[in-house]
């Protein structure tokens, strides 16, 4: 689908003259994240973690599989191995080269050695899921997915990270976005609203994280008691005759419930908490992008004011002020589109996260229910059981 052939839903042809409007248009059209297979032409997955041991270090690599029909790629399929460092490199490159866009977060870089086992199955799996999500979010982004660093990440046999330097000089302009030092101006209402929302949302996330952790802790302590509780029934059964089977049954039941509880706490640790933490990182990114936008706006307004105060009104507005204006509009459009996309993702992600939490709890109770229900006939079965066991 070529941009110039696009028609808006209301029938008017698309104005593709300015870059800002075309990217925002694409975003508007592809806002629904439930893309059907037809419109999506880039699929990325992260799987198959493997441990590498060398003389210098031990690290994990992940397999990145890409399937695409895009012409920007030489081949329709790619299989490469990447380590966390590479993902980190990619994210930095994206932030540098696409400063007007919100870059999805990576799972945390540093883990305290000794506290967390970097090579445990659970940790590696949790990280893999987060890396997979990261790449999928980039792949689904109408602008980021066309980024050449992303392309290189997915396709290059050897990720020559110094490659970035050459590209950087070409993108010299974008570096200027990062320059600061201009007096900050009032945010337009819609961006102020975004900032306010993020400030209110962040502590909520923190609270939910703390609650979830506390629940896991209490559940773990409850589990510890259960693990002691069940066996007492077993030792009781050892000196009973008629009550032997019922007591053994109760012991087994408690043991089943313990296993179910252990699964629940593990799942919550592995699936629930990391996603919450990811959103905290996402919000940090978003706040930074807002600040960058503020800087670009400040630069423009400062320069504009300088011009306005000139006495000679006849000379036209200098081109660099015009460029600033373009930058502001571009940034605002990109950010607005990314914000909408982010809000949508956030809603889906949290819906998924919380229904997942509910599901895990339901499964836990269903397992316990099954265990206790199957015990009832055993408990009630008196004479028959005695006859069978003798």
């Amino acid at each position: 689908m070529l941009l110039k052939d696009l028609i808006l839903p209301n029938g008017t042809p698309v104005d593709t003259s300015s870059p800002a409007s075309s990217s925002s248009l694409l975003n508007r059209l592809q806002l629904d994240d439930d893309l059907d297979g037809e419109t999506r032409d880039l699929f990325v997955t992260v799987d198959d973690p493997k441990k590498h041991v060398s003389t210098m270090e031990t690290y994990i690599t992940y397999r990145v599989c890409t399937k695409t029909s895009r012409t920007e790629f030489d081949l329709p399929e790619y299989l490469v191995r990447r380590r966390y460092q590479d993902f980190d490199w990619l994210r930095n490159k994206l932030e540098e080269s696409q400063p007007t866009h919100l870059i999805p977060p990576l799972p945390e870089k540093f883990v305290m050695k000794g506290v967390v086992d970097r090579f445990s199955e659970e940790f590696v799996e949790t990280r893999r899921k987060a890396l997979d999500k990261f790449l999928k979010r980039v792949a689904d982004h109408p602008v980021l997915s066309f980024n050449e660093h992303f392309n290189a990440f997915l396709s290059a046999k050897d990720l020559n990270k110094r490659q970035g330097l050459a590209l950087l000089t070409k993108m010299g302009e974008s570096v200027k976005f990062v320059t600061g030092g201009y007096k900050p101006r009032a945010r337009p209402a819609e961006f102020a609203a975004m900032g306010d929302y993020l400030d209110l949302f962040t502590p909520k996330l923190g609270t939910i994280d703390r609650i979830a952790q506390r629940i896991i802790k209490e559940q773990s302590e409850f589990l510890m008691e259960l693990r002691e509780y069940g066996p007492v029934y077993s030792s009781w059964s050892s000196f009973e005759e008629d009550l032997h089977d019922p007591l053994e049954g109760v012991s087994g039941c408690v043991s089943n419930c313990s296993s179910a509880l252990e699964e629940l706490t593990e799942d919550m640790s592995e699936d629930f908490l990391p996603v919450l933490r990811e959103y905290v990182l996402y919000i940090e990114s978003m706040k930074n992008v807002l600040k960058k936008r503020d800087q670009v706006q400040a630069e423009y307004e400062t320069k504009l004011e300088a011009v306005v105060f000139r006495e000679d009104k006849k000379t036209p507005v200098p081109t660099d002020v015009e460029k600033c204006q373009d930058r502001v509009e571009c940034f605002n459009a990109d950010l607005k589109a990314d914000w909408d996309r982010w809000e949508n993702n956030k809603r889906q992600d949290f819906r998924h996260l919380l229904t997942g939490m509910a599901d895990k709890n339901i499964q836990y109770y269903e397992k316990c229910l099954a265990a206790w229900e199957s015990l009832i006939p055993l408990l009630q079965d008196k004479q028959e059981a005695e006859g069978e066991t003798s």
Partner: protein, 434 residues
């Protein structure tokens, strides 16, 4: 213990009976073995009340009294439904009754009282005796005690028990008049003494060991259960925090708000549900506690048997040694070393008259000794017979009751799981609407 037979035998079902005559009826019918009081009479501990009064050292104290209500069974079936007879008793009077029963029927496994002080509590429950929940559970426990005694084939026909239920005033004096206190002191001494039985009855030794093990395992179970209850309480209550944060969060959301808000309510409901769950579990704990204390009663019976056996052995030993002395004296041969024998050897033999006198005394002692051994032997046999019957009865009761307790525990757990599933399904529905 049957009543002394001074009462007249009256006919059951004669509605023209005077109050004293119908009382006699009750007692005489109960005198028949196997007819427990409970078949004749409804008993309940209906209420508990706080009282203040002066105690033995003339100090002000607050205590709880319990209302015991009794009503003849046939009165209810006749449709008249009269007001039940009732009187108030405090815990110490129940204790007095039980001590009396323990002393008077040492061969029976006497039902236990509910605990004096709350033990094995988890943190939310107050260990305070004045706490209304504790008082309520104690009321149920006391009723249970009375029903157990009243349905026991032997205990139910006891006069003191009957008057405990029916005579408000002067009951204490009646109990003390039986002179059980003296027996109580010697019983306590005997139970705490250490002695070794030469030929222990294997069955009783096994039973005592069983009692020890039962007591130990139930204590452990109650302790761990209380700790687990504490933890479970924490798990549920922390979920209540979700309710609050979801509510606050929903205020800053547009489309997600409603789903979050209603999910929050369900989290609150979940947190609140634990109170009922744990209260029900207390009932299970009480059932276990009863058998914890029953184990003690069982051990007491075994201990009493040991004592009886020991006393028999002592008497037999004494008799044997007396017989030996007689033989020595008669034949002049000293078989066993004795100081007297040595001194007589050293300081000369006894005169024939002295020997004659000694022999005569020994003969009397031997006669008495043989009587004693016969008595003690009969006692022992009687004790073993009665005790073993009651132990068998107790075993069956225990197996039945504990099985029932486990079943109701499982049912409780099932109910808890179902509630959990329901709440989380409700929450899930709300989340899916976010």
């Amino acid at each position: 213990m049957a009543d002394s037979g001074s009462e007249d035998i009256a006919v059951i079902g004669n509605t023209d009976l005077t109050p004293s005559e119908s009382e006699n009826n009750l007692k005489n019918t109960m005198a028949e073995k196997g007819t427990s009081l409970l078949k004749m009479m409804e008993i309940s501990v209906a209420e508990a009340e706080k009282r203040t009064g002066k105690n033995a050292v003339n100090m002000q104290e607050t205590y709880t009294v319990y209302l015991i209500e009794t009503r003849p069974v046939d009165a209810a079936s006749e449709g008249t439904n009269p007001v039940p007879d009732s009187l108030w008793r405090r815990y110490s009077e129940f204790e007095l009754l039980r001590n009396y029963l323990l002393v008077t029927y040492p061969f029976l496994v006497v039902p236990p009282l509910p605990e004096k002080r709350a033990e094995f509590v988890w943190h939310k429950l107050s260990a305070d005796n004045m706490d209304p929940d504790f008082v309520e559970r104690r009321r149920v426990g006391l009723e249970n005690f009375l029903l157990r005694v009243a349905s026991h084939p032997d205990l139910s026909s006891d006069k003191i028990f009957y008057s405990f239920l029916t005579e408000e005033n002067g009951w204490k004096e009646t109990v003390f008049e039986t002179g059980f206190q003296a027996k109580a002191d010697s019983r306590l001494k005997a139970l705490n003494a250490t002695f070794r039985v030469k030929n222990p009855d294997k069955r009783f030794a096994e039973m005592k060991h069983y009692g020890d093990e039962l007591q130990s395992v139930i204590s452990q179970l109650l302790r761990v259960r209380a700790r687990a209850a504490d933890r479970l309480y924490g798990v549920y209550k922390v979920h209540g925090n979700y309710g609050r944060v979801f509510s606050e969060w929903s205020a800053i959301e547009k489309e997600m708000g409603d789903g979050l808000q209603s999910a929050g309510h369900h989290m609150d409901a979940y947190a609140a549900s634990v109170d009922d769950i744990l209260e029900e579990e207390e009932h299970y704990a009480d059932q276990l506690k009863e058998y914890l204390f029953y184990a003690d009663a069982l051990r007491a019976v075994c201990r009493k048997h040991e004592l009886t056996q020991y006393e028999l052995e002592m008497a037999a030993q004494d008799l044997t040694s007396k017989k030996q002395q007689r033989e020595e004296l008669a034949t002049g041969m000293i078989r066993t070393f004795s100081l007297k024998g040595m001194t007589s050897k050293l300081f000369g033999q006894e005169t024939p008259e002295q020997r004659e006198a000694k022999l005569k005394m020994l003969e009397t002692q031997i006669e008495e000794g043989e009587e004693l051994v016969k008595e003690r032997n009969a006692e022992c046999e009687e004790f073993v017979k009665s005790a073993w019957v009651d132990i068998e009865r107790f075993k069956e009761q225990k197996d039945h009751d504990l099985r029932e307790a486990l079943i109701s525990y499982a049912i409780m757990q099932i109910s808890m799981c179902k509630k959990g599933i329901q709440v989380w399904n409700n929450a899930k529905e709300c989340f899916s609407k976010m």
